[in-house]
């Protein structure tokens, strides 16, 4: 009886000791939930199998709520072990000393695409492991285009206006141009010359939007699209770009939708939706302009309780086969050079434009444009759509004023 008691007690202590040795890795991310799994459930399972002493607790916090939920944890010295960040959070939190330097000596650092490396490196420190570069361009319903006698996704302005006229003649709604995000993509792609990218100069107030011929021509280009019956500007001004617009495209009610490649998964799940992901038609290039967004990455807070396990998590994603799971689920490109292509065939037009060098990094994701300018773009372009005949200066001056306020 006594022997049984001691044996049981000893076993209980051993089990308790084992349980205590288990590390719970607290990971916060705006992906990995039901809406955007991004392959994380599968990757967590694989990580835990490779590291049996670590349990991953993934907490989903939407990007718009991260600014409310994570700062109190960082400020109080009780941060998550790993947190998802984007370039603006790296600048803000890294600048305040809340993020660890992952070291430029890391194996993966030298393999980063130079442009991404430049964006993510601050004062010789790399505080984020980048996960993706994701494209933004036009989703094109090829069946609707075929009904109008067109068999190629438009990549030049001329092709786009011709497609709009042909679609309109067939009674098909040619294009969504919602005042916020979709319209911004067109205006940006026709205002920023990839051969002479001056985004940083605008951001530093060295160049003025009002005086810039390209951005003036870009707004004129919007008027040309209206004239070509691509869309009704007043209707588009009030359209929700995140819920209604993708739903309209999925429903086959519209032929062209400017959006991000993160929709590829959702669109591909619709039976019978035959579409391509193409670069944004731009007056600067005959290939269309690929708009690459520097996506999120992993960062380890300075006061992370389980820094060693957190580093294992980052190193796990640095392995190409693991990162590819994430990239395939996201419909994104690797932020590292070389490696296996993960984009589906339907994105070939976009990939071809990238390969031809017809590409810019979206200046809001590289922080060349200050963050407040993004909401100003959204508001002012919506205003422009509501009164398309207003002088360009009315819109462009608001951008210059915002830059000046944020210098």
């Amino acid at each position: 009886m006594i022997r049984t008691f001691f044996t049981t007690s000893a076993l209980a202590f051993v089990l308790a000791g084992t349980a205590q040795a288990q590390t719970v890795l607290d990971v916060v991310a705006w992906k990995g939930n039901e809406a955007e799994p991004a392959g994380l459930p599968e990757l967590i399972e694989k990580f835990e199998a490779a590291n049996p002493d670590i349990d991953v607790e993934l907490t989903y916090v939407a990007r718009k709520d991260v600014d409310k939920v994570i700062p109190p944890r960082l400020q109080s010295g009780n941060p998550p072990d790993v947190t998802m960040v984007d370039s603006s959070l790296v600048e803000l939190w890294g600048g305040a000393g809340f993020l660890k330097d992952l070291s430029t000596e890391s194996d993966w650092y030298g393999n980063m695409i130079p442009a991404v490396q430049n964006v993510m490196t601050t004062d010789g420190k790399i505080m984020v492991f980048p996960l993706e570069v994701i494209g933004m361009g036009n989703f094109v319903n090829m069946d609707l285009l075929a009904q109008a006698g067109i068999d190629k996704a438009p990549v030049t302005i001329d092709e786009l206006t011709a497609a709009c006229q042909a679609l309109s003649a067939e009674g098909i709604a040619p294009m969504i141009f919602a005042g916020t995000f979709p319209a911004m993509l067109f205006v940006g792609a026709n205002g920023i010359d990839p051969a002479n990218n001056t985004s940083a100069k605008f951001g530093m107030g060295e160049m003025s939007f009002v005086e810039d011929a390209n951005f003036n021509a870009s707004l004129d280009g919007v008027r040309d699209l209206v004239a070509a019956e691509c869309f009704d500007p007043e209707l588009q001004a009030g359209l929700d770009p995140w819920a209604t617009a993708p739903q309209e495209f999925k429903s086959g009610n519209v032929a062209i939708l400017p959006q991000g490649a993160w929709n590829i998964g959702g669109f591909s799940s619709v039976d019978g939706l035959n579409y391509q992901f193409a670069p944004m038609p731009s007056s600067f290039t005959e290939y269309g302009l690929a708009l690459d967004l520097v996506g999120p990455g992993w960062a380890i807070p300075t006061e992370a309780a389980n820094a060693e396990a957190a580093r294992k998590w980052v190193d796990f994603f640095a392995e190409e086969e693991n990162l590819n799971v994430f990239l395939e689920a996201e419909g994104a490109y690797s932020p590292f050079m070389g490696g296996k292509a993960t984009m589906p065939d339907l994105a070939t037009p976009y990939t071809e434009a990238r390969e031809k060098g017809s590409l810019i990094l979206w200046p809001f994701s590289t922080l060349e444009f200050p963050k407040p300018l993004q909401s100003e773009w959204e508001d002012s372009i919506t205003g422009f759509l509501l009164d398309i005949d207003q002088p360009n200066e009315t819109t462009l001056q608001r951008w210059d004023d915002t830059i000046e306020d944020n210098l």
Binding site: E34, A243, G266
Partner: protein
């Protein structure tokens, strides 16, 4: 004589009561208008429920159409990944606890504030009113730091206290106005019967607060049930998460999947509707109390 009038009436047939017709027409019109307004208000709810029963193909082909049949697969999927029963129990436990604390503490704080007519009490009421206008982001960091120091992070007690503290100004504001309208003579009568302050509050004032308590409870219930920022911040244990956090997982950063979000939203708001239905009579009585005297 009588026979003359009767004969005349009979000759002209059954007379029309125009007043009655006018009243009935007005009544039908008013009822019709109200029903129309109710239908418009219920339209988003109807849309949410309708979408929750459609397959993704149906939604893609005809977003506004009715479902061909009730497809329960969306609900099965939502239920399997929500941890529904547990999260509903957590939400109910937290909501009911917060209501109890807020109602009791709010009424007790409001009673002296309503009765003491001096500058201090007026200043305290004003400070409480300021608490109503304080935005979330101002309080969120101090609450987190204090709760970390008190060891209240990731505990149900912590989240109840946080919500109670945040909703207390509303309760004090509600009760102060209501108690001020209660005749002092009622208290004086109780004091003649040797009641002390506590007994006056408990036996005289508290029973009179029932209607306003019901209304306040409804406000607090909706606010606490739907809040996900504080549970997201203060709770990390998956077993303690609330139902709105479970629904929140279905909201994307760059779009929504209606086949997942809508059934989750229906499931998330269902217990609240049930609670409202159960307490409806009291709540309505509270909302209309004082409207007619």
């Amino acid at each position: 004589m009588t026979s003359t009038a009767d004969t005349h009436a009979a000759a002209s047939g059954p007379s029309l009561d125009w007043d009655l017709i006018r009243r009935k027409t007005k009544s039908y019109f008013a009822h019709g208008l109200v029903l129309l307004l109710v239908a418009i208000m219920l339209l988003p709810l109807f849309y949410m429920v309708m979408m929750s029963f459609k397959t993704s193909t149906e939604i893609a082909n005809d977003p506004l159409g009715l479902p061909a049949s009730l497809y329960w697969g969306n609900y099965m999927e939502a239920l399997s990944s929500m941890g529904y029963a547990r999260s509903v129990l957590n939400s109910m436990g937290i909501t009911v606890s917060v209501i109890l604390v807020v109602v009791l503490a709010g009424a007790m704080a409001a009673y002296p504030l309503a009765r003491l007519q001096n500058r201090v009490s007026r200043i305290i009421v004003m400070i409480m009113a300021l608490g109503l206008a304080t935005p979330n982001f101002v309080t969120i960091t101090p609450i987190y730091v204090i709760f970390r120091d008190l060891g209240l992070l990731d505990s149900c007690l912590g989240i109840v206290l946080a919500f109670a503290a945040l909703k207390l100004p509303l309760a004090v504001f509600f009760y102060t106005g209501f108690i001020a309208a209660i005749p002092v003579e009622l208290e004086e009568a109780a004091r003649l019967d040797n009641c002390n302050n506590w007994q006056v509050f408990w036996h005289v004032i508290r029973p009179l607060l029932a209607p306003v308590t019901a209304t306040l409870s409804l406000f607090v219930m909706i606010m606490v049930w739907n809040d996900f920022i504080y549970p997201l911040l203060l709770l990390t244990d998956k077993d303690k998460l609330t139902v709105m956090i479970a629904v929140y997982k279905f909201v994307g950063n760059t779009g929504i999947d209606p086949t997942k979000l809508f059934p989750a939203a229906v499931l998330g708001s269902l217990p609240l509707l049930v609670m409202f239905a159960v307490f409806q009579r009291k709540i309505m009585a509270g909302a209309t109390a004082g409207a007619v005297k």
